[in-house]
Symmetry: C2
């Protein structure tokens, strides 16, 4: 960022990749001294996104204090930039009037984002304070499923008939009253007489068009049609795939009712990534402002499940207490079999979950991928079985033990390979999230199989 | 998608969330029969993004066959939509002239994406076939670090002086020759006399502006300044944070040299997510078209590292062979201590890696987060120690064993909590990728500590 500083010192202080640490320090200080003026001043000159970033750094006690003592920092823009979990916390400590006023500044899509996270009673209070027209629009948006496009779209867009000329279109846009106009738009939509979108025109194309060209000759294909009921993650995927800057949204009758824009879709993508990543690790929710209690509660459920599966694995081990007492090396070596299987399975699982998220696995290639993963498991199993057999031969000077661990590793790697791909595909087929619970499930399988096969084989060989 | 089918049957067949399975089946069939005409026809009516999706489903043998027998399907647009790993494979089997022609259809940023993945010799051949002007531009782009914005920007953009009126600006845009103009643009940039960007104007604002308004009165703040050397992930983060549709790119002297657009940044974000997710699971590279050998080689390195760490853990266990022989229950219970620690550490690690990717951890809050994670580890440790102590009391009727496992679990959870946050933060501070290697490192720590503390405590107690 050295080049920037040469001609834009001011800007450098207010925006950038990293959180504005100076503003954060000032805010901390102000909250410490209970100085509302200084607190407001710390955030005053920041872009809303930067102010939200700073606020997100606060631990929840200070966040509460900020909401109670300096509610004015929570403008509509700042609220809409806050992460969802933080928003819930903050808004509880603001009064309904403050929230309603903040929402009033926002476009319809951003307003819904703020309102949807409120608890029911408080939401009703806030809606009472909002002007009647916006209230009806908000209530309509809220009537859609929270994962649907209906929640995310804005009701401001530009739709013109196909027989308009470019000149007429530009004039129509110029004369449109400001409150009907989207704050920013990249495309206009061309509609048929029953208000169904039939094409789109990039503003860059409209701007360059000859005055007399008809919109129907300027418009391009819509590529995709998104309805109010479309899943938001599907919509985000379509935006990414077709590089869309915006998309019209239709109702059940195909009539144009709203517009989605890329910036909202990017947020959906980010949320999806975070969900997948956390789900794979068994974390239900996480935010940087979480307290210890949030952390403990957000992760305890999966740790409890893991405790149960670990005990299950121990019960498998205890079946073979007799063998282990005879050959203590079994106890020494058994974690290796389980650990290798668990890791291999997690690798395959992660690749599969990612491929599912990217819509890369289809009915046509699923069988090939299952077969590929199973075969790769077999090859990994062979490879590491050979290495491990040599190590065991040197370490324990027992060919029997070497053969036992090698066989167990081959079996467990095959199981790991197929479980890593079958579990997420199975969950997907059951319409469950392929990332949730699959880690625990898959590693339970590899632990149990690993211990059982290794100790079981040893028991068989030893009893002869 | 039922609503769509009512008025757009054709479109439904050519685009959507899922891969076009019909086209894929036709393509498979055509390749099977070695029928080039049918193969080309299978993809002919598809959007480039859909054609690329279909092609990405092919296993690598068929992909090779496609490249050799029907090179015409690899238009510039299709090539630029293919994933990077696939692109490398495909291009090897095309000849330089085909690739050069395909590139000729593309804008400068997309052309670079294709060329940068070629190996050096073949790239030189391709560049020889490209027209001299494009070649110079491509070579200049390639001179930038592959992670920098210089690689991703396009050289087509619109820059106008601040004293222009809106009318003059629109006329200038209309009269610009097509080859200088970006295919699509959402904003124009305002430059000072030394060609430094000083503001931007959304096309929607320009379109609505009065004819005589000066650009300097229309323009808004740039929010961020991106240079050719800016890291592409930093740029993507800025696009997301400030909801930017595009951004000017400057050289070292602050002069406007290019433009970044949102669609390229979305791709950077997706790549970053995939990298983080795969790195956390210890997978170096993965694509849906990978062969068994790719899978084996892409995952073997981390499995090998895991084997080494598992052996290390076994060596720790073997120190306590004597204690285990006396009390075989130790062997039965020890995996529980290690497994719980490993899972808790992975949870904390994943949350930390995600927070780092979202730029949420700063110098100001790092200490609080380290403390929070350690404390949460302690609470989890206490909680599960109590549960486990009760279970061991019932199972083995030994208060000593119950106390030993409870103490070991508390210690290992504290270690897990702090390791989960300290390891990625440490890697970040060393300018390494916090996701790579941290999983293996963290679980090694919890395995070794888990076994050592549990068995060590047991040995101490048993020797008394």
């Amino acid at each position: 960022m050295t080049e920037q500083s040469q001609h834009s010192k001011d800007r450098e202080q207010t925006s950038g990749v990293d959180v504005n640490v100076d503003a954060l320090a000032l805010l901390f200080d102000a909250l410490d001294k209970n100085d509302a003026g200084a607190g407001a001043a710390a955030l005053a000159d920041l872009h809303a996104a930067d102010a939200a970033d700073v606020i997100e750094q606060l631990p929840s006690d200070q966040l509460k204090q900020l909401a109670k003592t300096i509610p004015s920092v929570f403008s509509g823009e700042v609220l809409s930039e806050l992460s969802d979990d933080l928003l819930e916390d903050v808004v509880e400590d603001l009064d309904a009037k403050t929230v309603a006023d903040a929402i009033g500044e926002l476009e319809s899509d951003d307003a819904v984002q703020v309102v949807e996270d409120l608890d029911d009673d408080f939401r009703a209070e806030v809606l009472d304070e909002v002007d009647p027209k916006s209230r009806v629009a908000l209530e309509h948006s809220l009537s859609f499923n929270e994962d649907s496009v209906g929640r995310l779209m804005q009701r401001e867009f530009i739709a013109l008939p196909k027989f308009f000329t470019a000149k007429q279109a530009v004039n129509a846009i110029r004369e449109m009253p400001k409150e009907q106009l989207p704050e920013i738009f990249y495309e206009i939509y061309v509609v048929d007489p029953s208000y169904r979108p039939i094409g789109k025109i990039a503003l860059s194309a409209l701007l360059r068009a000859e005055n007399q060209v008809k919109l129907k000759d300027l418009m391009t294909d819509l590529q995709v049609l998104v309805t109010q009921e479309t899943d938001k993650e599907d919509a985000a995927y379509l935006f990414e795939k077709y590089d869309l800057p915006s998309s019209p949204v239709t109702d059940d009758f195909g009539r144009l009712v709203g517009m989605l824009t890329m910036d909202d879709m990017v947020e959906v993508m980010q949320d999806e990534h975070t969900e997948d990543l956390l789900a794979l690790a068994g974390v239900s929710e996480a935010g940087v402002g979480d307290r210890v209690l949030d952390v403990v509660l957000g992760r305890a459920p999966w740790l409890l499940v893991n405790l149960a599966t670990a005990i299950l694995a121990s019960m498998v081990i205890s079946i073979f207490e007799g063998s282990m007492e005879k050959v203590i090396a079994l106890a020494v070596l058994m974690p290796i079999v389980a650990s290798m299987g668990g890791n291999a399975a997690t690798q395959g699982l992660t690749v599969t979950v990612r491929a599912l998220a990217m819509r890369e696995i289809t009915a046509v290639n699923a069988r090939r991928i299952i077969w590929r993963e199973t075969l790769a498991g077999f090859v990994h199993g062979l490879l590491f079985a050979i290495i491990m057999a040599i190590i065991v031969l040197i370490w324990f000077q027992s060919l029997t033990l070497a053969m036992v661990i090698a066989s167990a590793m081959v079996v467990n790697h095959i199981v790991a390979g197929s479980a890593g791909v079958l579990v997420p595909l199975g969950l997907k087929r059951l319409n469950a999230d392929p990332a949730v619970a699959s880690s625990v499930f898959v590693t339970t399988v590899t632990d149990v199989v690993g211990f059982f096969v290794f100790l079981g084989l040893a028991a068989l060989v030893l009893s002869n």
